[in-house]
Structure formats: structure tokens, C-alpha cells
């Protein structure tokens, strides 16, 4: 098939064939480009329009209102704090779990499926499950009660730290499997020879991790980082189910202004801010994890 095509071109059906060959990738990409433009591009443009205009004129009123919201700075702080705490933990867990799987213990296939179960659970359902654990009369308190520990109000508005802890635990449970799947897929692409060679030369476990496994996993980690950060910025249902409005996050504020306060422009301003943060993180990851000079050109 490939040879035939090459022969066709070389047989000189001429410029048109070469043109067709050049255009083919673009034609193949066109449907998805159109789809993305319609389904994502248009809402983004109209959201930006909402956030920056009022009755057709350019304005920053909505942004001022957004910043004046007394939960604005707490929401920014909580959102960034959540990312700073969740992402490293999730990557540590995911890489650790992937390495365990790679050691091929008995029933490793079964473990893998059990570990990815949270991926199939809707985030709202996950939030409600964890609510039944952290609620004042939930499973956790009942469990602690056996040991004579007094009731802890994990989700009370007075206990910001335990509220944060609950959201972190629930998010880690729910979303680590996404990173795991990507990392496991990445590991399967890494030839074992390198690792075996390092072992032959007597590299310790940490040396192999640092110099062999992680560098090879970089492309997968980059994808996972970008995906997870964007998704962590969107942590909504879990936090909403566990803490209501007591633990403000930017997404929750966007929802609140749009749906509960009927002010879509301010909601759009929050959404635009999130978009900007997500874009900044993505660019930062791409730049930080860019291949070093010597790394290029290994394969095609």
C-alpha cells in the first residue's frame, strides 16, 4: 500500500499528487479543528465577551466586582493551595503504584482494575461518599469513637484545616487513578533494557529512578501534569458536596455568580481567570519539562 503510493507519486502524476499529499494531514485534522472551534472556541469567545463588556462597551466592572467579593482572595488561595498539595502527592502515589504494578506481583491485573475504579465514579458521587465518611456522624467519627476519641467536626466552618484535609483526601482518592493510567501507559513504552543495564552497573533504586525511569517517563508526566492541573483547577463537585460554600474555590465562585446570583458576566470573569491560570500552568510545564538539547532525536 505504502509502496504503491510512493510509486504513484514517483511515476509523476505530478504536482497535483504532491499537493494532495501535503494537504492530506490538514484535511484529516480539519473535522476535529472545526469541532473544537465550534464546541470550545465559541463559548470561550462569548465568555470573554461577557467578562469584558457591558451593554456592548468594554468595561472592567465585572472584574472589580469579582475582586470585591469577600471570598475572592480566599478562593484564589484555596484553589492554588489545593493544586500545590494535591498534584505532588498524586504524582508520588501514581508513580509508586505504577512501579508496584511493573514489578508484576501476583494478581497485578486485578490491582490495576481496583485502583482505577475511582476513575469511573462521578465526582459528585465521590463527594457524597466522602461526605458520609467525614460527616459529624459519619464513618470516620464512628470509627474513632471505638477508640474513645471525641467527636471531631471535620467539615465545620470553624475547622478550615480539616475541611481542606477532607477535600484533599477525597480528590486524591478520586483522581490519582487518572495519573496512574497515564504513567502506566508511559512505562510500557520504556524499554526495560535501560533499567536492566543500570542494574547491571550496580545503580541503586533511587539512582535508577532519578536517572533512568523518570527521564524516560517525562513525556507522559508532562501530559499527566497538564491534565491533572487543569482538572484540579476544576475541583467543584467534591468540594461542593463536602463543604458547601464554606471552602470557597474559584470554580465554585464562578458557579455561584452565574447560577445563584444571576450575574453571568462576573461568573465569566471567574471562568476567564481560571482559563488564564490553567494556560499559565500549561505553558510553565511545557517549558520546564522541555527536552534538553541532548535528548532530541532519539526516535522519530
Amino acid at each position: 500500500m505504502t509502496t504503491a503510493a510512493v510509486f504513484d507519486v514517483e511515476a509523476g502524476t505530478g504536482r497535483r499528487a504532491r499537493w494532495g499529499r501535503l494537504a492530506a494531514p490538514y484535511l484529516l485534522v480539519l473535522p476535529s479543528a472545526l469541532f473544537v472551534t465550534l464546541v470550545f472556541g465559541w463559548p470561550i469567545v462569548s465568555g470573554l465577551g461577557d467578562a469584558f463588556t457591558d451593554g456592548g462597551a468594554l468595561t472592567l466592572t465585572h472584574w472589580r466586582r469579582m475582586v470585591a467579593d469577600q471570598q475572592f482572595w480566599p478562593a484564589v488561595r484555596n484553589t492554588l493551595l489545593l493544586i500545590a498539595v494535591i498534584i505532588p502527592l498524586q504524582f508520588a502515589f501514581a508513580v509508586g503504584m505504577a512501579l508496584l504494578l511493573q514489578a508484576r506481583p501476583r494478581l497485578s491485573g486485578l490491582y490495576f482494575y481496583i485502583w482505577v475504579v475511582p476513575l469511573a465514579v462521578s465526582d459528585l458521587a465521590a463527594g457524597l461518599v466522602w461526605l458520609s465518611i467525614f460527616a459529624d456522624r459519619g464513618y470516620l467519627n464512628s470509627f474513632l469513637d471505638w477508640f474513645g476519641v471525641d467527636l471531631v467536626e471535620w467539615l465545620s466552618y470553624q475547622n478550615t484545616n480539616t475541611m481542606f484535609l477532607a477535600v484533599v483526601v477525597a480528590e486524591i482518592w478520586r483522581a490519582t487513578s487518572l495519573v496512574l493510567v497515564i504513567v502506566v501507559a508511559g512505562m510500557q513504552l520504556v524499554p526495560r533494557d535501560y533499567d536492566e543495564a543500570a542494574q547491571v552497573f550496580g545503580a541503586s533504586f533511587w539512582q535508577r529512578m532519578r536517572h533512568v525511569v523518570l527521564p524516560q517517563l517525562k513525556p507522559s508526566l508532562q501530559v499527566a501534569l497538564i491534565l491533572r492541573t487543569i482538572l484540579a483547577l476544576q475541583t467543584f463537585a467534591v468540594a461542593q458536596a463536602l463543604t458547601g460554600e464554606n471552602f470557597p474555590l474559584l470554580v465554585g465562585k464562578s458557579y455561584q455568580w452565574t447560577v445563584r446570583l444571576y450575574d453571568q458576566p462576573v461568573g465569566s470573569a471567574f471562568a476567564t481567570l481560571l482559563l488564564a491560570i490553567a494556560t499559565a500552568f500549561s505553558i510553565a510545564y511545557l517549558w520546564l519539562l522541555r527536552p534538553a538539547r541532548g535528548e532530541r532525536g532519539g526516535g522519530r
Binding site: 470585591a68 469577600q70 457524597l128 458520609s132 460527616a135 459529624d136 458547601g244 445563584r260
Partner: protein, 453 residues
């Protein structure tokens, strides 16, 4: 403290379930549209009765009151706004009739999404609507854009066990806020230091109405005009002390009937429709009473729900016929006895009502007939800013009572927010603030108690 979050959990679930219903209601609407071929069928979207039991009972009432088929779809106010806006803008209105609180309908009217109902209102002229309600039904414009549907207010639900700690000399039907505080502290002491008073300050609770319609009028005589007055500072200090004697999970409560029925709370203030389940099993164990009075009087809030026709809705005759059926005294009384919303038309409240309704009706009558009663309305004419006005009061509550910030500072900041909201829609003052004579209502114009004899 301990017996807290069960109902916090329930109510939050409730909220989330309502959110989930957003996904369900659209297919349902499509379906009903396809099936609604016979004339007289009505699709009725309502922000009221969106609890499953309430909706079922209301469907029964509709079935008896109206000949045609009614597809009754309860949802939340956000869904209502989104759907009506989308349908009217796309010129494909599929909902014939909408029902909601004044605050749900006013923003739609402000954007011209509701039909002029002058004709319908004229034909119902002899039903005996209160003048105040007729004015509200114009939502700040010149013509009625909804027909008053039902009304409600807020009262105290008291489990009789709590009456044992009532301060001596206090009359439960004529409490002052000072006695109320003293009582809450005494009740707490009698319960091993655990509070038994509760307020609905959760995300879907109506704590902002307690502040707007009860505390502010009772302490300052107004709602807006004395917002950051010295009386208001006293009021917020009072509120802090009261909150210390409330169950901590109050910050999560949405409907007080849940913690009341579960025994977590013995004395709770809430909307009559959000209290009605508490005494249903054992009405004899309960007392319902008017809210307390403050230095300026007994402030209370009257809540109005209305029904409206979206602009360009199909089959408006059927919708009008349903409105007429809803305003029949018999239908209004059926709604009262089933779902605890009070009639807006002249209808005699008889003795054969369920006992829990009679408990409430007595407290409502006692409130309205009190010598020192100050009737307050939820913000009028705020249009699209209605919800943000409520939020401004809630934010003050969060900052002052929950987070313990400086009262004067918070009030100064929130006063600016509120003035901004009023200016944006040029809203004149509403009861109980003194009329602003056509001008925009001014925060801190001086409360009636300080400027008027």
C-alpha cells in the same frame, strides 16, 4: 455541638439533587411538548415545591383544580432563569406557565421576558388581593407581570421540652430578642452546655431573610435606611451572642424542619413551608410562635410567590385558565393544608385544617396582628440584582458573625456594595424603609426610628 451534621448532610444532598435535576428536566420538557397536543394542556415550571413530597401533593391539587393536563416541573431559580432566557431568545418557548417567588420573577420581568398580565389581573379583580401584593406584581414596572399565587412568612417552631427553660415572666407569644437570647443560653445550660437553638444559615438556608426582615426592622426600624447605624451595630453584637448559643451546624442547615424533627434543634426560626414537617408526626409536642420583638418593634417578612407567562409562550388561554384555577379560594386552601403556603385571595381559614397547619396559622395571625408589628418585604425592584442583595446581607453575616471581623468596617464595606446594587437598577425604597419619593433608596438615609417620631 456534636449532634450536628446529619441534617447538614441531608440538606446538602438535597441541594445537589436539585442541581442534578437540571440535567433531567430538559428531556422531560421535550417529552411533554411532544405529548401536549390536546388543547388545555399546560407545562408549568415552578421554583416552589421542588421537594419530591411537596411536588407530588401539588400535582394532586392541580389534578383536582384544573380540567386539562398539567405537566408540573419543579426546579430551582437558576434553572428557571436559564431556561426562560434561552427559550424566549430562541423564540421557541415551550413552558406555558412559570411559578416562583417575587425575587425569581422580578429579574425576568426586568429583562422583558414575561407577558403583560393586565387582562388576567382585571378578570381576577374581585379575589381580594392585598394592595401591597398588586404593587409587587408589577415588579417595578407599570403593568402586572405576574399574578400573586401564594404567600408565606417566618415563625418560630418550638419543641415543648424547650419551654421548660423559658425565662420567667417571658410570654412565648410575645418574646423580646433579649428574652430570646436569655432563653437560648438557659436552654443550652440545661442541655449539658450543648446548644438547642438553630438558624438556617447553610448555603440554601434563608438566614438573609432573618437579617433583612427580622433583625434589621426590629432593631433599626428599617432594612436599608439604617444599615450601618449605631442601632445596627448593636444588632450585630446581639446576633453574635445569639449565634454562640446556636447549634454550630446551623452554618449548614437549609430547612430547619430536618434538625427539628431529628431532635438536634429544639427551637428554630424558618419559613413556614420549611418548618411544616417538624410537627407533622406529633403536633401536640410543638408550639409555634411569632418571632421576637426588638427595640423598634416586631419586624417580620411577608413572602410572595406569583405565576407568570413567559413572553411568546404557546397556548396562553390554557395558562390563563390555570392561573384562574390556582386563585380559586378552594385551591388556595388546599395548597395551605398540603404545602403550608398561605392564601393570597380572600379565603376563610377553617378548623378542619391539619393540626400542624393550625399551629402555623395561629403564629402567623399573632405576628400580623401584633401591635408593634413592622411588615418588611424582601427587596423590591432589584430585578437582576435581587440575589446579590441577599448575598450582600449574607456576606455581612459571614464576615461579622462567623469570621468575627470588625462590625463597623464590614458594615461600611457592605453599605457600599448595597448602594451599588440599588444605584444600578435605580430602586426606590420599599417597606419598612420610608419612601424615597421616587429617588433611589439610600443606604443609611436614617432609619424611621431615628428620623421620624
Amino acid at each position: 455541638m456534636g449532634h450536628a451534621a446529619r441534617s447538614g448532610r441531608l440538606s446538602r444532598r438535597e441541594a445537589l439533587r436539585l442541581g442534578a435535576a437540571a440535567g433531567i428536566s430538559i428531556p422531560v420538557l421535550r417529552h411533554s411538548r411532544a405529548g401536549a397536543s390536546a388543547s388545555g394542556d399546560v407545562t408549568f415550571f415552578s421554583t416552589q415545591f421542588n421537594n419530591v413530597d411537596e411536588a407530588e401533593r401539588f400535582r394532586d391539587i392541580l389534578g383536582r383544580a384544573y380540567d386539562g393536563n398539567v405537566e408540573f416541573i419543579p426546579g430551582d431559580a437558576g434553572q428557571l432563569a436559564t431556561q426562560i432566557r434561552a427559550q424566549v431568545e430562541a423564540d421557541r418557548v415551550e413552558i406555558n406557565l412559570i411559578g416562583g417567588l417575587h425575587g425569581d420573577l422580578a429579574p425576568l420581568a426586568a429583562d422583558g421576558l414575561l407577558e403583560d398580565l393586565s387582562g388576567v389581573m382585571e378578570s381576577l379583580g374581585d379575589r381580594g388581593y392585598a394592595d401591597g401584593f398588586l404593587e409587587l406584581a408589577m415588579a417595578g414596572g407599570d403593568v402586572p407581570v405576574y399574578i400573586p399565587w401564594m404567600q408565606a412568612t417566618y415563625v418560630l417552631a418550638i419543641h415543648n421540652d424547650a419551654l421548660e427553660t423559658l425565662p420567667s415572666g417571658a410570654d412565648v407569644n410575645a418574646l423580646t430578642y433579649d428574652q430570646f437570647l436569655e432563653w437560648s443560653a438557659a436552654a443550652r445550660e440545661a442541655n449539658d452546655g450543648r446548644a438547642v437553638f438553630g438558624l438556617p444559615a447553610g448555603p440554601d438556608g434563608l438566614i438573609h431573610r432573618f437579617i433583612q426582615g427580622y433583625l434589621y426592622p426590629s432593631f433599626t426600624g428599617g432594612q436599608i435606611s439604617g444599615f450601618s447605624s449605631p442601632e445596627a451595630v448593636t444588632m450585630w453584637e446581639y446576633f453574635r451572642s445569639l449565634w454562640e448559643n446556636c447549634v454550630a451546624a446551623s452554618a449548614n442547615y437549609s430547612f430547619m424542619q430536618e434538625p427539628l424533627a431529628a431532635g438536634e434543634v429544639l427551637v428554630g426560626w424558618d419559613h413556614v413551608a420549611r418548618l411544616i414537617e417538624a410537627p407533622r408526626d406529633d403536633p401536640d409536642a410543638w408550639t409555634f410562635a411569632p418571632a421576637p420583638s426588638g427595640p423598634a418593634g416586631l419586624g417580620f417578612m411577608a413572602i410572595l410567590a406569583g405565576v407568570a407567562i413567559p413572553r411568546g409562550a404557546p397556548d396562553q388561554e390554557a395558562a390563563t385558565a390555570l392561573i384562574t384555577a390556582l386563585s380559586e379560594p378552594a385551591t388556595q386552601l388546599a395548597v395551605l393544608s398540603q404545602n403550608a403556603f398561605f392564601p393570597v385571595v380572600e379565603a376563610e381559614i377553617t378548623d378542619d385544617l391539619p393540626p400542624e397547619i393550625q399551629l402555623e396559622a395561629t403564629a402567623v395571625a399573632a405576628t400580623q396582628s401584633a401591635d408593634n408589628a413592622i411588615a418588611a418585604l424582601p427587596p423590591v425592584g432589584l430585578g437582576a440584582n435581587d440575589a446579590q442583595m441577599s448575598q450582600a446581607f449574607r456576606d455581612a453575616f459571614t464576615a461579622i458573625v462567623l469570621d468575627g471581623n470588625d462590625i463597623a468596617e464590614v458594615l461600611a464595606r457592605q453599605a457600599e456594595v448595597i448602594q451599588g446594587l440599588l444605584d444600578e437598577v435605580e430602586a426606590p425604597c420599599w417597606a419598612p424603609d420610608p419612601p424615597s419619593d421616587g429617588g433611589v433608596c439610600r443606604v443609611d438615609a436614617g432609619a424611621p426610628t431615628t428620623t421620624q417620631p
